[in-house]
Structures are given as C-alpha cells and as structure tokens.
C-alpha cells in the first residue's frame, strides 16, 4: 500500500472541462471517498489515477513514484467496477487469478495445456492457486470457485470483483461506485464488509460514490467534488458540520439541509428571517442560513416562525416533519422530531418552528460559508430575542 497524490490535475473532453486543477493527497492506508453529483468529474479522476484515462496536465504520484508514463497494469492498482466487469467466459477462480497470471507468467506459460509444462509455471501456478483460495476464503466465496459469473447473484459477483482486486496486493484500491448495482439491503451489508476489509487490510482505498451515506459511513476523509473541482476535503464530521460551501451543505446530509433567505439587520448584524430576528448574528455578507433538520424544533404551540404541516414521514425511530412557512410560502422546512411524536396525524395543522442558533450555518451570495454565531448568551433561544 502507498500514499497517492493527485497534483494539479486537469482534464478536458473537447470543450468541456471535466477536472480543473484538482489536488488531493491520500495517505497510506486511508479510506477516502470522492463524492459529488453525476458529472462532477469524480469517476474521471479515479480513471486518471488508474491510468485508464490520461490527464491533460498535472501529475499522479503513487508512493514516491510519478506514474504518469506507466500503463494501468504497471501502476499496481486494483479497481472494482460498478458493473463488476468479470470475464463472463471464465469461472470465479480464473477471474480472481487473472491479474496474478498476467503478472507472474510469461506469454508461453499462459498458453492453454502446453503452458502448464513449461519450466517455472508449476510453482507459479501453485502459488496463484493458493492465493486465489485464500482470497476466496476471506470473502466467503470458496464454494463458488468453479462457477461462471452468470451463475452468481449480484452480491456474489461483487465479492468476486473484490477478490480479483485483493489478490494482487495493490498499492491502492480504486472502487468506482461498487455498490450502486446492489439492492438496498445488500448495499448496507456490503458497506459494512468493505469497511471491515479496509480495516483488516490497512490498505489505501479510494472510493467513488454519489451516495453520501456510503461516503459518510465508510470514509476516513471525504473529498466533495462539484463541477470538476474538489471543493472540500475533510472527515465526515467536518464536511457535515463545517461545509465550506452551500453546495457541500446541500449535498451532504439526508434529508437535505434547510436553506432560508435572511436579511441582515445593520445594527447588531442579526439575521432576520421572514421579519423575525433569528437569534443568529452573521457576517454582513450573508444572504441565507442553512439549518440541518435535527437542529430544528417543531412545536404546535410556539416558535420563531409559524407554518402549516404539509407532510410528515414516520421512520419508526424518528419522524421528519415538513412545515410550509406562512411568511415565506415558497420555503418548506424539514425538521426532525422524536420517536412517536405523532406528526403524521397532524398534517394540515398549524405548527411553529425554531432552531438552535449554535448549529446554524450562514452563506453569502456566492454560496461560500461566512461566520455566524448565536446572539448574546443572555438571551438564550430564538424566541426571547425575537420578542426583545
């Protein structure tokens, strides 16, 4: 395993810029997710690291070696593809063995029948067979070694694809949306397995996904990409709590963060939400506040802003309540309510929302995050301030 550095990589397809000066360093043994909406360049970046695509400018460094001139196979990386990309005509054992055969046997030794009798090939073949068995055992697919990929379920194919990556003991694992073809239940299960595999192998993992839950649950660090730029790199907590940009805030977190437009009161720097002082002091350039659903309290009696419950979802462990604000009818606020609060029975009734000023995020007109804090420790809570 090794460190992987992406240095100022740019890539253009025709006139469209897919990557613009992207830089990122992934430490040895780290699990980094590249996440972003489709078309943000994350897959292209992964393909550039692998060597399947060539960058226009910039360098890829693996370990202490610049690999820009090396073919994909010479970079000693392993890749797991979204469609698994198993060889349909080979059985599971041969699929897993393929990278090792290509590495250790020469062209003649790989010939069918005759190859087996050439000097050196018996030892090499034994070693390969042993490694294939070990990998199969580790992934719990030993009983499938003789089958063809067509006879396997999606989850089993996924494991074979991981096995093929595993055997070559690569400098880094590249995974390109490996779970997106699986059904929801299996996806959760494979998520755990891949995270455990990473812990066990202590290898460098670069994981591309558009699913923020996958990125949040598995990664040491997340690199959020938008429009060919890496706009934020940080731990899941940092990206979630301290997004640098409104696009990051909106992309990470489910349900999505609430964004409300605010006016700034000149005297105190107080953000004013729909005519009511919000209890948050912001930088004067702020134009909107972002508040996560779990920082919002919804109450039937009192709160910062009044509205109508438009919809409520009961997830069992919690409920999500959507409130359309009376003063800002184009805004629907999503709030997290506790278990058994019964909002699903109160759709259409009046409700009031308020929020925890300490957890608010402020953004300027360009979408960049600007400073904000809860106003005056003496006036705790939005309502007291709003009345005063």
């Amino acid at each position: 395993m090794a460190e992987v550095q992406i240095r100022n990589v740019s890539k253009r397809f025709g006139t469209t810029t897919v990557l613009e000066n992207a830089s990122l360093t992934i430490s040895k043994g780290e699990f980094v997710s590249l996440i972003g909406p489709s078309g943000c360049g994350k897959s292209t970046l992964l393909r550039i690291i692998s060597g399947l695509e060539v960058q226009d400018t910039g360098q890829i460094v693996i370990g202490d070696r610049t690999v820009d001139d090396l073919r994909p196979s010479a970079r000693n990386l392993a890749m797991v593809f979204q469609s698994y990309a198993l060889y349909p005509h080979l059985n599971v054992a041969s699929n897993i063995a393929m990278p090792l055969r290509m590495q250790r046997l020469n062209g003649f030794q790989r010939l069918p029948v005759i190859g087996r009798f050439l000097p050196g090939s018996a030892t090499a073949n034994d070693g390969i067979a042993r490694q294939v068995r070990d990998a199969a055992e580790m992934l719990d697919i030993s009983h499938l070694l003789e089958r063809k990929p067509g006879q396997l379920s999606g989850g089993q194919r996924q494991r074979v694809a991981v096995g093929r990556a595993l055997v070559r003991d690569p400098a880094a694992f590249l995974l390109d949306e490996p779970l997106s073809n699986l059904d929801a239940k299996l996806r959760v299960h494979m998520r755990t397995e891949i995270a455990q595999l990473h812990r066990r192998l202590k290898a460098t993992f670069i994981y591309v996904t558009h699913d923020q839950v996958e990125a949040m649950t598995m990664s040491d660090r997340i690199a959020v990409m938008m429009d060919g730029d890496i706009i934020q790199v940080g731990t899941p907590d940092e990206v979630y709590d301290q997004p640098v940009d409104i696009r990051v805030a909106e992309f990470i977190g489910s349900p999505k963060i609430n964004v409300v437009p605010v006016d700034i009161e000149a005297a105190r720097g107080m953000a004013v939400l729909a005519g009511a002082a919000s209890g948050v002091v912001t930088d004067p350039s702020a134009v909107s506040l972002g508040i996560r659903p779990e920082a919002i309290t919804v109450s039937s009696s009192s709160g910062l802003a009044a509205g109508i419950v438009e919809h409520a979802e009961n997830l069992g462990s919690e409920e999500y309540v959507q409130v359309r604000l009376d003063a800002l009818p184009e805004i629907v606020i999503t709030a997290r309510a506790g278990h058994g609060t019964g909002w699903t029975r109160r759709i259409g009734s009046a409700a009031h929302v308020s929020f925890d000023g300490n957890r608010a995020l402020a953004f300027d007109s360009a979408g960049r995050r600007v400073a904000c804090r809860a106003y005056a420790p003496r006036h705790v809570g939005g309502k007291a301030v709003a009345n005063g």
Partner: protein
C-alpha cells in the same frame, strides 16, 4: 380465459400452417435430391413423382459419385479453402472491429463509413481487376488465389463491430488493469465474449465460400484445386452424360458437411446466447 386460449390455439395453428408450407417449399428440392440419389436410372427416367425408389440403387449411385471424380479431394480442397478463409477473416475482422468499436482515434467514424461503403461493392464488379492482379503476381490457379480475395470481410468487420459495441467498457478497462495487452483483449476477452456473433458470422462465411462457384471457376484451371461446386459441375459434363443418380449423390455428399456444421453451430449458438455474465 376460454375464448383467449381458443383464439391463441387457432392463431398457433395458422402460424404453423404458414411455416409448414414455407418449409415444404424450401425442403422439397432437398428431398427430391436425396430421393433421386437412391433411384435407378430407369426410375429417374420414368418421370413419375415418387419419393421412394421402386428399386434401391443408392449404393451404386454413391459409389459412382465417389469414384468417377475425386470428390473427396474436392471436398478436402473445400475444407482447406473455407477454413482458411474463415480463420483469416477473423484474424482481420476482430482487431478491426475492436478498434472501430472500442478505441478512440481521429477519423474512426470516417473509416467506419468507408467500410460500410465497401459493403456496397459487389465482388463480381472487382473480379476482373483482381484476376489481372493475381495474374501479375503469378498466383492464379492456387489455394492462395482462392483464399486471398476473401480474407478481408467487410461484413464480418461490421457484424463484429456491432457486437463489440454491446460489450461493456468496464470489462475492457478491467482487462487493462489486469495487464492484458490490447491484442490480448481482442483474443482473450472480446473473442470469447463474442462467440455467438463469431458463430453467426462463421455460418455465413462458410456457407458462402463452400458454395462459391463463380470465383473458383475464374481463377482455377487445374482440377487439383477444384472446390466441391466445381467438382459437381465436372460431374455433369463427364463423358457419361447426364447421370442424375450419381450427380444427386455427389450433391448430397457435398452438402452434408454444411448441414452438419450448421447443426453443430446451432447448438453452440444457443449456448452462446445463454453466455451472459455481465448484467
């Protein structure tokens, strides 16, 4: 439910009736050929429409067919020529199709357009120039002259290219990551994946060149290189005159390998179709 099933069964009946009439139309000449190959000259000359011979003359006809002309020699020529043509066609078509379907290069679409254009050129139109060229090269009247003009099959390139287009890019990328070279990808990944298409192309190619009468007739002068259709033709003009019994026996013999090949390929074809593992 009842009227539906009644409807569909009468619909089935109609479909089968149409197919049966069609297949009779196509198979009848073959039946007549095989039947005639078992009949005596008197039987054939009587002109009566009978499927079964009144007098069994099969052994004599087949013996005559095999002894009057070196029929087996002609068939061996046919095997050498059609097998070489098909092998060389694959050797050319698969890498071409791979380059056209999966590699990115400047002018690819133009080249593909030109290839499609070549589909429009009938082989007969270029027969004379090719003949003259072979004359200058001094390779007329040889296996080479039978094989060489057909090694580049535009149809094969087109067919394989269309099939390769359906192979997921991920599979090729996975092969590249595993260290397989581009040519290795053609032979070790694309070829096994494309086996159904290769089989289909093989059926077309082998039938066309086994049955080809036109080109061998032009380039060959010595009987040593005669292919089966030419061989049968010599049969008709042999000194015995028109002897339909042995002639039909010879025709049956030269068609048999095609029928066998097709039946074998058909099984492979079905296997090939169930050969999915990507999705």
């Amino acid at each position: 439910m009842r009227p539906v099933s009644a409807n569909s069964s009468s619909g089935d009946l109609f479909k089968h009736a149409v197919l049966a009439v069609g297949s009779i139309f196509i198979l009848l000449p073959f039946a007549v050929m095989i039947a005639t190959s078992f009949k005596s000259p008197a039987d054939i000359a009587s002109g009566a429409l009978r499927l079964f011979p009144t007098e069994y003359h099969g052994f004599a006809n087949y013996a005559e067919a095999l002894s009057a002309t070196p029929l087996l020699r002609y068939m061996a020529n046919g095997v050498i020529v059609t097998a070489s043509i098909f092998a060389l066609q694959l050797l050319v078509a698969l890498p071409c199709a791979y380059a056209l379907a999966k590699l990115k290069w400047r002018g690819r679409d133009t080249v593909f357009g030109l290839i499609l254009f070549c589909l429009l050129i009938p082989p007969h139109a270029v027969a004379i120039p090719v003949y003259v060229l072979f004359y200058w090269l001094g390779i007329l009247d040889s296996y080479t002259s039978l094989i060489l003009p057909w090694t580049i099959s535009v149809f094969g390139i087109f067919l394989m290219r269309q099939f390769f287009k359906t192979v997921p890019d991920d599979l090729i990328d996975a092969a590249r990551m595993d260290g397989i070279s581009e040519f290795g990808i053609v032979w070790r990944v694309m070829l096994p994946t494309a086996l159904p298409a290769v089989t289909a192309f093989g059926i077309f190619s082998i039938i066309a060149h086994w049955n080809d009468y036109f080109w061998p007739l032009i380039v060959l002068s010595s009987e040593d290189y005669y292919t089966p259709p030419l061989g049968v033709a010599t049969f008709r003009t042999a000194e015995v005159g028109y002897v339909f019994g042995p002639l039909m026996a010879a025709a049956t013999i030269i068609i048999a390998p095609l029928v066998l090949t097709f039946l074998l390929a058909q099984r492979r074809f079905i296997e090939g179709i169930t050969f999915t593992g990507m999705k």
